[in-house]
């Protein structure tokens, strides 16, 4: 962020007005729901078993523990391979929806006031609380053995264009946000919690500030409306003017998403795991962009049908926002526990021309690497140079492609460079 490096962030047109103020529409699950099972998952039910909404049906069991719950009640039909929002084809557990939504608590609620930190961390693990910002990182890992933490940073930035889901959830559930944050603050051992909200969301800032009155250890911190302000490193640099090597814990900070805090609060209060999500489904490829409340495992096709359909015969269905989300080959892709948006856009073909070496990608790269140089090195197959240029640091935020005036897929070039580097390292 020095003048010699460039701004490393940029204001983008948010298109948030499309879904900002409309009702949150309830989406009804279809006949079948498909619960995605990531790799290394033990399946706890058999085909033919009857499950309730809330029944634990699987458990991720590698270096992390993440239980997975059914979002509807009905009969387990079996396993099916389907495209996931990450673009990979993975196993999905198919549950036949009986439409009753019989709920059983998979775990008992817990009083955060009286529980010990260890109990709370275990509770968080068993409740399957994962980061709701998009990546789905298990939250308990951040608190297990947390030491020397001075600040808990609650990320309510929501910097991807089109997405307003977090805004709507926080607006609806300020009390849950505070309860979740307060509990996480206790677990982290930090002195204060900062809730980062974009400067431009004045009404939300006022609402949260109002609710925070008398709570000295929790504060709102305003951040500029720039992309990717919601990325951990950008946000931490903005708030603390510090950089870190691998994890924010190194500089005494834990970052969690605001909706994660809200989900945690619901789990604590009612014994409810993440079974449904509020998602933004927006973009010019839809007749009526909306925020929707949708059970996990419901396909994009079902959602689009229930909100009025596509606006054209050819669309790009993107799992997530337009910057980082992947285009899907089908709308059978389902909502997962970490989904927050589906963006549907009309095709927008561009003429790609020669790089004019303007350096905009370099100046704006949030990771502080040099995308145009990485693209050149990748074309030349120069692995040594790719390593020097730290291609591995790319988070594929899409900024370099966004700013490129010659309309080159710069991010894709860096992605290839990163893959080349990884392949060379494995040799």
């Amino acid at each position: 962020m020095s003048i010699l490096i460039g701004p490393m962030k940029l204001h983008l047109d948010g298109h948030k007005e499309l879904t900002n103020h409309g009702e949150v529409k309830n989406i009804v699950a279809g006949k079948k729901v498909f619960i995605p099972l990531m790799a290394c998952t033990d399946i706890l039910v058999n085909a033919g078993d009857y499950v309730k909404a809330g029944t634990m049906i699987a458990k991720r069991n590698d270096h992390f523990t993440v239980p997975i719950f059914s979002s509807v009640s009905g009969k387990v039909l079996g396993i099916e391979e389907l495209e996931h929002s990450t673009g990979r084809v993975i196993d999905h557990l198919v549950v036949e929806n009986d439409g009753k939504y019989d709920f059983e608590k998979p775990f008992e609620p817990m009083d955060a006031e009286t529980a010990s930190v260890e109990e709370l961390v275990n509770f968080m693990m068993n409740a399957g609380i994962v980061g709701c910002g998009g990546a789905g990182f298990p939250s308990y890992v951040k608190y297990r053995g947390a030491k020397g933490i001075h600040t808990l940073l609650i990320n309510a930035v929501e910097c991807e264009p089109y997405i307003t889901a977090d805004y709507r959830i926080i607006d609806n559930q300020v009390e849950d946000l505070l309860y979740g944050t307060k509990t996480m603050l206790k677990m982290s051992g930090a002195k204060e919690a900062l809730i980062a909200i974009k400067k431009t969301k004045k009404d939300l800032i006022d609402k949260v500030r109002e609710a925070l009155k008398g709570q000295d250890q929790m504060k709102v911190t305003e951040v500029p409306d720039q992309y990717p302000m919601g990325w951990e490193r950008t946000l931490i640099y903005e708030v603390f003017k510090k950089r870190y090597d691998k994890l924010p814990g190194e500089i005494g900070v834990i970052v969690n998403n605001a909706t994660t805090a809200i989900a945690f609060s619901e789990a604590l209060k009612y014994g409810r795991p993440i079974m449904e999500k509020i998602c933004t489904i927006s973009g010019d490829g839809l007749k009526s962009p909306s925020n929707v409340r949708v059970p996990v495992g419901v396909s994009v096709k079902d959602i689009v049908e229930q909100i009025g359909g596509y606006a054209g015969e050819e669309v790009r269905v993107i799992g997530g926002g337009p910057m980082m989300g992947r285009t899907q080959t089908t709308d059978d892709v389902v909502i997962t526990t970490s989904s927050n948006a589906i963006t549907v856009l009309k095709p927008d073909p561009v003429d790609t021309i020669a790089c004019l070496r303007c350096g905009r990608c370099n100046d704006n790269c949030p990771a502080g690497i040099l995308p145009v140089r990485i693209n050149n090195a990748e074309e030349a197959g120069d692995v040594k140079l790719l390593a020097k240029l730290r291609a591995d640091q790319c988070i594929e935020c899409g900024m370099c492609t966004y700013v490129c005036p010659s309309k080159i897929e710069v991010t894709e070039g860096v992605r290839r460079g990163k893959a080349l580097l990884r392949a060379a390292a494995q040799k």
Binding site: L4, P161, Y310, T343, A354, V403
Partner: protein, 486 residues
């Protein structure tokens, strides 16, 4: 339904495209051109404007034809090729860097070289190593300086006059008189004086530059660091020579510096791609510009400095490679080292400067024939008579001779009955190629015919860019008259 897939992101900056950047740049350049045409219309008349517009048309048409022929020859789609090759900007910049006296022929050739050898040969737009317009300008500098139009001549430019003065004037009175010929520093800023068509009005160029920087068409750091460094370097030279603030001001306001800094040095294709790289690049430009101005026989160093630094761009890119957030120290040190080295080099270049004698033009802007100067007087080598006509063969020191070269040999024929010049000819031109040797222009020499000894206020227009050599011819005529009327 059809689901289109493509790699992420699926979001593009709609406000900035390469075509948009080039279009805004072209408009900015045309503003500068229009100002220039207004100046020539007011001060010289319509025929100058017609010639200026003709030059612009020649450059643009040549560039377009070159692109079309290239596209056809290489079997590309002509429309698509032209749309994304941006010949217009190159052609306009080239036109703005040449004096209005340039011939259509010279500019046409330069425009072809700029497009073909400056850009297309390297693989087209985005792949060229050198600034294409700079390449075209260099072609004119090196081989077509003499190709000018006699009817469209202007007085000497500030930079060429300063070059003739040895890039240093110490005497305060002389300084004032020198600057006054161009309307003082304030007029150098405003640009109401002849020069290369687009390069005169520093103020207008700055204003257009600020707008283009605001529109993100160009990176403001390059012109600011470039011009700022030239100012600092020449300020040091001024201080060590006991010269005032006018000296660095003259450096940044005259010649092609401001134009080159805003419109040519910022060409992204030939720039390094990182901010720190561009800062180093801009300092390098400043160093070369100052050194070329002070120590070479070229009148102005900007275009050459840009072409030379273009070659260094890839190396600078290599230097700044790495993870930028953890390279700030490296960047800072590199920039500081470049600046200090530049400071030393320009200081050394400025250290050996000696002011030279200056010949001022007469009131009407011309060169007085019957001056009182006693410097560098020509000598009579041979005197013969044929009836009423007396022929003097003179050995006259031109600009090149002052630099240590040979004198020019000039023949002056005077009718002793009427005391009038019959003709002046250059028998042997040993002057600087492309500059001093342009005194052989018949248009220049014909001005002497008919001058009589009785009219002591007679004057001629000097060959632009060759004031010293022009003066030596005028002196030869004066000495011949004095010899005859002894």
């Amino acid at each position: 339904m059809k689901f289109i897939t493509k790699v992420s992101p699926n979001n593009r900056d709609k406000d900035h495209s390469t075509s948009g950047i080039m279009a805004e740049l072209a408009v900015g350049l045309m503003v500068v051109f229009v100002f220039s045409m207004v100046f020539y219309f007011q001060e010289y008349g319509m025929e100058y404007v017609i010639h200026g517009v003709g030059l612009m048309a020649t450059s643009i048409i040549t560039a377009l034809v070159t692109e079309v022929v290239f596209a056809l020859a290489t079997k590309r789609k002509v429309g698509y090729h032209i749309k994304y090759s941006y010949p217009l900007v190159t052609a306009i910049i080239l036109t703005l860097t040449v004096p209005i006296s340039t011939s259509f022929f010279a500019l046409g050739v330069a425009s072809f070289f700029a497009i073909f050898f400056g850009k297309l040969i390297f693989g087209g737009f985005g792949h060229n190593i050198f600034n294409p317009a700079g390449v075209g300008r260099m072609v004119i500098f090196s081989s077509l300086v003499g190709s000018t139009v006699a009817d469209v001549t202007t007085g000497a430019t500030p930079v060429s006059s300063m070059a003739n003065a040895g890039w240093l004037i110490k005497d305060a009175a002389v300084t004032e008189k020198f600057l006054e010929q161009f309307g003082g520093l304030s007029n150098l800023l405003l640009g109401w004086y002849p020069g290369a068509m687009g390069e005169t009005s520093a103020l207008l160029i700055i204003l257009v530059g600020i707008y283009l920087a605001y529109r993100k068409v160009l990176d403001w750091k390059v012109p600011v660091v470039y011009v700022g460094s030239v100012f600092i370097f020449t300020m040091i030279i001024a201080l060590t020579n006991g010269v005032g603030l006018w000296y660095p001001m003259f450096h940044i306001l005259s010649g092609g510096l401001m134009f080159g800094a805003v419109f040519m040095a910022t060409d992204p294709v030939t720039n390094p791609t990182t901010i720190s790289g561009r800062v180093i690049y801009a300092i390098g430009l400043a160093v070369l510009t100052v050194i070329i101005r002070l120590q070479s026989s070229l009148p102005d160093g900007v275009v050459y400095a840009i072409l030379l630094m273009n070659m260094v761009s890839p190396l600078i890119d290599k230097l700044t490679d790495g993870w930028s957030i953890y390279s700030v120290k490296k960047y800072t040190v590199s920039i500081a080292v470049t600046f200090v080295v530049g400071l030393v080099l320009t200081f050394l270049a400025g250290n050996g400067l000696e002011p030279k004698a200056i010949e001022f033009p007469s009131e009407d802007g011309g060169l007085p024939v019957f001056s009182e100067s006693t410097d560098n007087l020509p000598e009579v080598v041979e005197q013969t008579e044929d009836g009423a006509v007396v022929t003097f063969v003179m050995s006259a020191p031109g600009y090149y001779a002052l630099e240590g070269g040979d004198n020019n040999t000039i023949e002056v024929k005077i009718n002793k009955d009427t005391n009038t010049v019959e003709s002046v000819a250059v028998l042997e031109a040993n002057d600087t190629p492309g500059l001093g040797d342009r005194i052989t222009d018949q248009g220049f020499l014909d001005q002497f015919t008919g001058i009589t000894y009785d009219d002591q206020s007679a004057s001629v227009d000097a060959v632009s860019g060759a004031t010293v050599s022009s003066t030596s011819v005028a002196k030869a005529v004066r000495i011949a008259f004095e010899e005859l009327n002894k």
